[in-house]
C-alpha cells in the first residue's frame, strides 16, 4: 500500500476522532495530527480550539515545513499562548485532547520516549518525554499516532514507561485504529487496505482481530479538503 494512501487514511481517521467545540493540542514533529486538526476544523469541528507548540491559537497556515514548531504555524493567530500556558491549561483540566506518539507503545497504552534497554545504560537514548508524562495524566484524553506499525513499536511491555497509558484513548497507525478499553489496546477497526493477519503479524502482543470492522476509506469530501489544506503533501514527511 502506498504511503500516500496510508498518510491519507491516518489523517482522516484522526480527524474523525476530534469533536466540535473541544480544545486540542499537538507538539513538535506532529504533521499528521496538525493536518487532522485542520481537517476536522474544516469539516465537522469548526468550533474546535486548536493550540500547538508554537503558541498560536486557531492559526490559518498557508503552507507548511517539515517542522510543526515552525513560524508558518503562527499565521492568522491573534494571540500567543505559550507552551507553559498550554501545560497550565491541562493542569486545570481544560485541555480536552493532546496528541502524542512514542518509539514504543505497549498493550496497556504506556509510551516510551526515554530509552531502549536499561534507562541508566541505554542501548539507545531517546529524545525524552517529560511533556508526555505530564499530559498523559492531565489532558482529558490522549490520541496517539505512529507511522510505523511493527512488533518493535507495538510491544507487550515498553522498556521504560515515560508516559503512563491510563488516559490513552486511541492509537492510529498505518494499519489500524487501536482503542484502549479495560486497560488494554484492542483493534477497533482495520484500514481498508490491510487485514487481520497483517495487523497481528506486525504487533508484538496478542490481539483479537477477527470480526473487526474496516476503517472507512477517506471520503471524497475528506480528500478534497485535505488536498486543499496540504497540496504539498507534508503528510508524507513522517514516513
Amino acid at each position: 500500500m502506498s504511503v500516500e494512501e496510508q498518510s491519507n487514511m491516518m489523517v482522516a481517521a484522526l480527524a474523525r476522532l476530534l469533536r466540535d467545540g473541544e480544545t486540542a493540542f499537538h507538539g513538535v514533529a506532529s504533521p499528521i495530527p496538525m493536518l487532522a486538526i485542520l481537517l476536522a476544523q474544516k469539516l465537522h469541528a469548526p468550533n474546535l480550539t486548536y493550540i500547538n507548540i508554537t503558541g498560536s491559537v486557531n492559526p490559518n497556515p498557508a503552507s507548511f515545513t517539515s517542522s510543526t514548531a515552525d513560524p508558518v504555524l503562527l499565521r492568522g493567530t491573534a494571540s500567543i499562548f505559550t507552551l507553559a500556558d498550554a501545560f497550565d491549561l491541562a493542569a486545570r483540566g481544560k485541555l480536552d485532547t493532546a496528541f502524542l506518539s512514542g518509539v514504543q507503545i505497549d498493550k496497556h497504552g504506556n509510551i516510551n520516549m526515554s530509552a531502549i534497554g536499561d534507562y541508566a545504560k541505554p542501548k539507545v537514548r531517546l529524545p525524552g518525554g517529560a511533556g508526555s508524562a505530564f499530559l498523559t495524566e492531565t489532558a482529558g484524553r490522549i490520541l496517539a499516532w505512529r507511522t510505523r506499525h511493527d512488533s518493535k513499536t507495538f510491544v507487550d511491555r515498553v522498556n521504560f514507561i515515560t508516559a503512563a497509558g491510563a488516559r490513552l484513548d486511541r492509537v492510529v497507525t498505518p494499519l489500524c485504529v487501536f482503542a484502549l478499553r479495560d486497560g488494554e489496546l484492542k483493534v477497533e477497526s482495520i484500514h481498508y487496505y490491510s487485514g487481520p493477519q497483517e495487523v497481528q503479524a506486525n504487533t508484538g502482543f496478542d490481539l483479537h482481530v477477527e470480526d473487526v470492522p474496516f476503517t472507512h476509506p477517506p471520503t471524497k469530501q475528506e480528500m478534497d479538503a485535505l488536498n486543499e489544506i496540504d497540496p504539498d503533501m507534508i503528510r508524507l514527511v513522517e514516513f
Partner: protein, 152 residues
C-alpha cells in the same frame, strides 16, 4: 506539578512527592533548574539587553529568568528609545542580562521567529554526517571555516 506520577521518570530521576497543604493532593515536585548561563537569540535588543522576540517564545523568557547569567544575541541592536515607546513588547528586561552580541543570522541553522526559516538543507546534511565521525568532523570544519553557513 500535576501529572507525571505514573511515569518511570519519578524513580529514574529521583523526583519527590509532596502534599499540597490546601487540597491535600499529592504532587510530583521537581527541583528548580538554575542554569549558570542562558544563551538566547532574539530579533532586537538594546545595549542594556532589553530583548524583543517575535512570534513563538517557547521557554526562552522563563529560561532567562531562571539562569544566573544571560547572554543575548540579536539580529539587530536598537536604541533604548525605540523600546521605551512600547515597553510591553520587551520580553526580557535588560537588568537580567550580562552581555549583548549583535549576530545577524545568529540562530542559523535554526529559525529566528518570522525573520528567517530553519535551514532544511543543512539539517539534512547534518543528519547524514552524524552517522560517521569523519563526515561529522568534515561538516563542522566547513561550518567553522565559513564554507557552510547562513545565507546573508
Amino acid at each position: 506539578m500535576a501529572g507525571v506520577k505514573g511515569s518511570g521518570l519519578v524513580q529514574a530521576q529521583g523526583f519527590k512527592l509532596v502534599q499540597d497543604p490546601y487540597s491535600l493532593n499529592e504532587y510530583v515536585a521537581v527541583k528548580a533548574v538554575e542554569p549558570d548561563w542562558a544563551l538566547i537569540h532574539v530579533e532586537k535588543a538594546d545595549r542594556e539587553g532589553n530583548a524583543v522576540m517575535w512570534g513563538s517564545k517557547y521557554d526562552d523568557v522563563l529560561l532567562a529568568k531562571a539562569s544566573k547569567k544571560v547572554i543575548i544575541t540579536c539580529e539587530q541592536v536598537v536604541a533604548t528609545e525605540e523600546l521605551q515607546t512600547r515597553p510591553e513588547g520587551t520580553d526580557i528586561p535588560g537588568f537580567l542580562v550580562q552581555a549583548v552580541v549583535e549576530a545577524p543570522r545568529g540562530a542559523w541553522p535554526c529559525s529566528c521567529g518570522q525573520t528567517y526559516p530553519f535551514d532544511s538543507d543543512f539539517f539534512q546534511a547534518y543528519l547524514t554526517a552524524a552517522g560517521s565521525d569523519q563526515a561529522y568532523a568534515k561538516l563542522m570544519s566547513q561550518v567553522l571555516s565559513g564554507e557552510r553557513g547562513p545565507v546573508q
